[in-house]
Symmetry: C2
Subunit: 492 residues, 2 copies
């Protein structure tokens, strides 16, 4: 605790890993690439979950739960989807262990318990869900189906990082079925907008909304909408995706519906998801060299009160005032903790709550008691102010709102300053290898050009922004015609 | 929909399966033994989750998340636990598929991607969690750890039934660590009481609290507390268990803490869980030949309003009144649905909501409009009454409370009537092979007797009740000394 974090300037990646571990968010486990989400980190994830879940339900979605395993034959059915995920999936082949005849304390696989068909631990659930929807859908009256599930999924990534890329992660995946193409596209966009609204107004993370290029699309999708954030180190992070799946899964699983005239057509599909990756975005958007910085909406503890005292007598008097503040704040729905642990010094506590990103810290000392004041410290800008005891509640309410807004504004300013328009490849390379950020450039629309740029610079097309101005130009790489600018960046 | 359910009398097991499927709670999937929990069923499970989660947090527990997989070497570490679960576990052996060279549309296992160490899909998480706690615990200051997780687990059961016994199921598992034996036992009992309170006062399911006999204990526990319910067919169902794990896992994973004097001791542990099995208990406690019966606390829709009309003109007038009722009930926090679908007849709707267990059905017809009344039907006792429009809200509130209570009382009467004290094995057999139920009998305390009784009658010791009167006697089977009566039953 005493040692400081590595600074962002020194090593951004190391700084990130240290925050995750030292703030008690998550840690690596005995299982390669799988993380343990610790109570403090999970409490933040619960706030993300609960707000998103509310938004999904408000827009007519219901939760359900589908199996963890996908039989190989179903996994294969949608070819592109299978191709996209088959290289990194956990495969269950047996259903029993037995004692090792050579060492009775050890267990080995019982070869007699080999599965007839291998099971894939779901990397995503389109296959198992569309195989189920087949039985749910006969007529137009059965549509739309608007279902979401909160689940764990497994993708056997070779290089993993806590929250950003782990073999197992938690997410929600929505899977909807529609009678018309238009309705499915509307749903895809509705959800992408919902994600953007959530990221900006709840997590205080500004995002660009856009479409993925063909090579960055979800495997099995006709179109992928996304929201992209810009992290402090100039790299982009995809926060969420919403896929228009066309009739690909309906065709793979033979899901048809009869319209009012009895005519059969394939069903239209969408799927969409956000994951524990959002935790990584949260950290890399707001935090600083002192530790985590949390928007009040996501803070498990919004206000901490630390007594500053010599002797139990002083502590008692401070506790009387602190308890009043606690109960006043709680009555306003503010989560507050009074930390009167006697075996830790105030300085230690200050550091710890700073590291953990608690938005407001209140300290009360003997002089405060005399003056009927407290000291209030803001985590976002590290400023302190003296507040009259009788206006603490109003001030805290006001400042929590202000922190939420200020964090968004700060992140948005940073993001906006780091969108650079370039008009030739030299400029492009200079920015990408320099401060990075989003680079807005003309592109000829071909996969070849996209790949060449990626190979040369590691930058990819993050999205074709939704609100792109219609401006024709020349591709910065090939010089060919371009219909409009797209956003490039290096990314997580 | 038109066909009736199989009656309970005719075939209880068939009745159960039909309710689960026809009420839209769950269905089987393409994965052997794994279920799909459908939106209506999942909405009930969410209510169970949310209330339990609140209770866990009120008693100081925090949620976290641990990996889905357990490396085989960790799985082996606690010998009894490993032995108990190794015969029915899903084993991941590979992390990649490749195209089948013989058929490009097929995928096969890539043998080059064999894991060095097999991973077990968690059947329960003691091993992975205690391996993690090892790093969290150094001193008495790190204790207690009071952590819970909501997760999916997999046990490769050979004979599965929706909700009651499935290969994958959803549950919560609490895992706590303590400095003293007494504190750990206190926690075990606290949770068992929390479960009992939840079952009785939220789910309206009366339970017996007790201890498991040695042979029915959790693999790796020193003592297992449980709550046991009695289903309508006279069979018992274990609703939840709370285990005192002693120092077994601390020893297996070498987890020690230093006390205030620096002396090292092994940590004491508990674990406890309830699962989607509770859904089975819910169905088999309250439902009837017309379908599901839901206690209002668990009903996704507490009140449904069905208009009875000829022509759209009547419908319009009824809708005006219905909308008023909807908004009045919603303002009281009651979940209500107005079903004005024109393509379904009232009779169809009545049956459907009966099947789905909606506690109160309100119907409004043209004569009701004239008389300023509605007809109110209770799902629990199938009675109907006419209620004045201006007292609907008060009546609904009153009746919802009454249904919740009546369901509990009805179930408790049934349970109490079906606890039979017997004093010899002939009586015992007669009851067990007859109506079943809980049979209270003296037992000599040996595993041999317990097993013999099980082999002869299929009855097992469900629990040694906590509030057992201290009454010495003779074992009904062996005639040997007995310290008190225990509860036998056939069980799910």
């Amino acid at each position: 605790m005493a040692e400081k974090l590595t600074s962002r300037q020194t090593d951004y990646s190391k700084w990130y890993n240290e925050i995750v571990v030292k703030a008690g968010l998550a840690e690596t486990s005995a299982v390669r690439g799988c993380m343990v989400i610790k109570p403090y980190g999970f409490a933040i994830w619960e706030k993300i979950q609960s707000e998103l879940d509310k938004k999904f339900k408000e827009t007519g979605h219901q939760n359900a739960y589908f199996p963890l395993f996908v039989p190989k034959s179903l996994f294969e059915a949608e070819e592109k989807n299978a191709e996209g995920f088959s290289k990194e999936c956990a495969v269950v082949t047996h259903y029993r262990l037995k004692n090792d005849p050579k060492d009775s304390t050890k267990l080995i696989i019982d070869e007699q318990a080999k599965l007839e068909e291998e099971l894939i631990v779901r990397p995503t659930s389109e296959a198992i869900i569309w195989n189920t929807y087949k039985n749910w859908i006969q007529s137009y009256r059965d549509l739309p189906i608007l279902v979401n599930q909160w689940a764990n999924v497994v993708r056997w990534e070779m290089r993993t990082r806590l929250f950003l890329r782990t073999a197992e992660f938690l997410w929600q995946e929505g899977h909807t079925a529609h009678a018309t193409k238009e309705e499915a596209i509307e749903e895809t966009i509705l959800i992408n907008n919902l994600y953007a609204d959530f990221a900006e107004n709840f997590m205080a993370i500004p995002v660009l909304k856009g479409l993925k290029s063909e090579s960055e699309r979800f495997a099995g999708a006709d179109e992928t909408y996304c929201i992209e954030g810009l992290m402090q180190d100039g790299k982009a992070l995809q926060l969420g995706t919403s896929h228009f799946l066309g009739q690909n899964f309906a065709k793979a699983f033979d899901v048809k519906f009869a319209n009012e005239d009895g005519k059969l057509s394939y069903v239209w599909a969408t799927s969409w998801g956000v994951s524990t990756r959002l935790m990584g975005a949260l950290i890399m958007t707001h935090s600083d060299d002192n530790g985590l910085v949390l928007p009040p909406n996501l803070a498990p503890i919004q206000v901490v009160i630390v007594p500053i005292y010599k002797g139990l007598d002083q502590l008692k008097k401070i506790t009387v005032e602190a308890n009043k503040i606690v109960s006043d704040l709680k009555s306003k729905g503010i989560s507050v903790k009074y930390d009167d642990r006697d075996n830790f010094k105030p300085g230690y506590k200050f550091n710890d709550y700073e590291l953990k990103g608690v938005p407001i810290r209140i300290s009360i000392g003997p002089r405060d008691l005399e003056n009927r004041t407290i000291e209030l410290a803001r985590r976002d800008n590290l400023t302190k102010s003296v507040v009259q005891l009788d206006s603490v509640v109003i001030q805290v309410q006001k400042i929590l709102k202000d922190i939420q807004l200020s964090l968004f504004n700060r992140a948005q300013n940073f993001r906006d300053k780091n969108i650079t328009e370039v008009n030739n490849f030299k400029e492009f390379e200079k920015i990408i290898t320099g401060n990075g950020g989003f680079v807005s450039a003309h592109w000829d629309g071909t996969i070849e050009t996209e790949l060449k740029i990626k190979n040369l610079t590691k930058a990819t097309i993050r999205c074709i922004p939704i609100d792109n101005k219609k401006e024709k130009g020349k591709c910065i790489f090939s010089g060919k015609e371009s219909a409009g600018r797209v956003i490039f960046a290096k990314s997580y």
